[in-house]
Symmetry: C2
């Protein structure tokens, strides 16, 4: 019995000698209460240590002031940046976040959607690569306003935030060859990297095929240590290369492996990180990276969600374009 002794509004009313309706009015500052009774009620509230039950309030008003957030295991820096952004504005707007984390399986993501629905949240923000459009529409069919990140989805109560990675990557590659880039490019694929990775890989392949350049794709694990070892081996026989890695830590593994083998970055080995964070700038040599400020994305998505909840979201779609930060891991051409 968790809250056996929870003080209820009724007990406050009794102790203050008024009805529970009056107490409710005081709590919600609705006025229509005499100064005297208000003070009396407020005093007893303090004396009894009464705190309204958010549950009961939510049930009565049909508003939970809760936002459901579906994200993959919050262990990547860019995910935690996103979360920080969401949390920032949620706090100032008086919302509480309910966290639902998924781990690379559509099944689990689906069960999280179920949970979000039963959770009675006022809205949801979804950033999960595994979900299909129809999965998201399911949550929408329960009329839960939803912002979907990194997936184009249209719907009544759905807004989306999109990343224009492919275009930027495509131009980046073209420009590389145009300016005389002579190393063959290698795309470093990560197991279970999700759709953002796949889309980038596709763009990588298509761009190369379009301009008639040879390319390469390598698989690696989503672990710094293993990737480091793999590339340490790799660089025994391969002394040159231009690598496009998904994440900073992958890029760092390649860079460190190259350096430790005795190769020069960027002279021998060039590296680009696709989803750059602040660490791309801290690592040495600093790593050229495509970068989207995920904290801004988080803030934006929360603002959009609030508008969606209030029915005044005009543009249901917003695009973030990654910035290309050229640093020391690539040669300036």
């Amino acid at each position: 019995m968790n809250t056996k002794d929870r003080v209820t509004i009724y007990q406050v009313a009794q102790a203050a000698g008024v009805s529970l309706a009056t107490v409710s009015r005081v709590i919600n500052k609705q006025g229509n209460v005499t100064e005297a009774t208000r003070l009396n009620v407020e005093e007893t509230i303090k004396r009894l240590g009464y705190k309204p039950s958010g549950l009961a309030q939510a049930l009565a008003t049909n508003k939970s002031t809760n936002i459901g957030v579906i994200i993959p295991n919050a262990n990547y820096v860019y995910i935690s940046n996103l979360l920080a952004g969401i949390s920032d504005v949620a706090k100032t707007k008086g919302f509480v976040l309910s966290l639902f984390t998924t781990s690379h399986s559509r099944e689990e993501a689906l069960s999280m959607i179920e949970k979000v629905i039963t959770s009675h949240v006022d809205g949801a923000i979804i950033f999960d690569d595994e979900l299909d459009a129809e999965d998201v529409m399911k949550i929408n069919s329960y009329s839960v306003p939803t912002i979907v990140i990194n997936k184009k989805i249209i719907g009544d109560k759905v807004g989306s935030i999109l990343f224009s990675y492919e275009d930027v990557l495509s131009k980046f590659i073209e420009s590389y060859y145009k300016k005389g880039g002579d190393k063959q490019m290698t795309f470093v694929h990560v197991h279970d990297g999700g759709r953002l990775l796949s889309r980038n890989e596709k763009a990588f392949r298509e761009t190369h095929e379009r301009i008639g350049q040879k390319y390469n794709v390598i698989n690696c694990d989503d672990s710094y240590t293993r990737t480091y070892h793999d590339f340490y081996e790799y660089f025994q026989n391969n002394k040159k290369g231009y690598f496009i890695a998904y994440r900073d830590s992958i890029a760092a593994a390649i860079e460190n492996a190259a350096t430790d083998v005795g190769l020069k970055v960027p002279e021998d080995v060039e590296i680009v990180s696709l989803v750059g964070t602040k660490y791309a700038n801290i690592l040495r040599p600093s790593i050229t990276a495509l970068h989207i400020n995920m904290q801004e994305v988080g803030q934006r998505s929360m603002y959009m969600l609030i508008d969606l909840i209030n029915n005044d979201l005009v543009d249901k779609s917003y695009r973030f374009e990654p910035l290309v930060n050229e640093r020391s891991s690539t040669i300036k051409r």
Copy 2:
């Protein structure tokens, strides 16, 4: 009107031609239902797309299956690791996390405690430097089982997880001088670093005073860029030093500044990070760091909380001792 059209248990009952009590039994698999009616009810549930309201369930059962988590702005790597750990076991145990983030102010942390209480959570995990013991006891007086991280607190429904940083740091310092360490040590203080930092600084000072060694304390901003610039200036006139920094990014700022000025790490400048993450190992030169696996801390705290909720937590206190990972940013002595 958010969920105007939410399907209720009553509507299911009506559509299935049974009473809502029967539907409730089916949902909760309580048996005492004919195979035929069960199938019938399950069919209508699916047909109507009914999802029970977690709110109403929580209100009726006095169990929300929600855990309140109070942490500082989830933007540090070690915080997001902690969160990932909590989230891991919460998920497998069927709990949802409600996130309450604070930002370096006791006042805000207090208001978050209020929110946790109104939130009707089944338990709470608190990791916040600003809170006093009495603040935490407040949440406990509402009989919310609570695990407090990084603060020694005793109470009926309170457990705590402690970090033994001071001891380890103290021994580390002693051993440094014993083995002939000749650089003067400098503790790099961060504004608003919280109590963990303060405690470490205190241990740093006391150890030096006890063994009669001179020391130094420097202030810096909690920003990689500013700290980098500050130390870039600093190293114009100071060509040697042994720095103990709070965080990896601070340590990296010092290391990069030293390197960029032309100093050698670790020959001229040695650096230790107090709260190391995986990045301490990725940065070059790799950074010697004290390290606590925050993901493990998160998991442990969640396990302890569940035991606390079920009234069978035997040891109400658990200690994590940081590992000292000696790497390339210090000289092996």
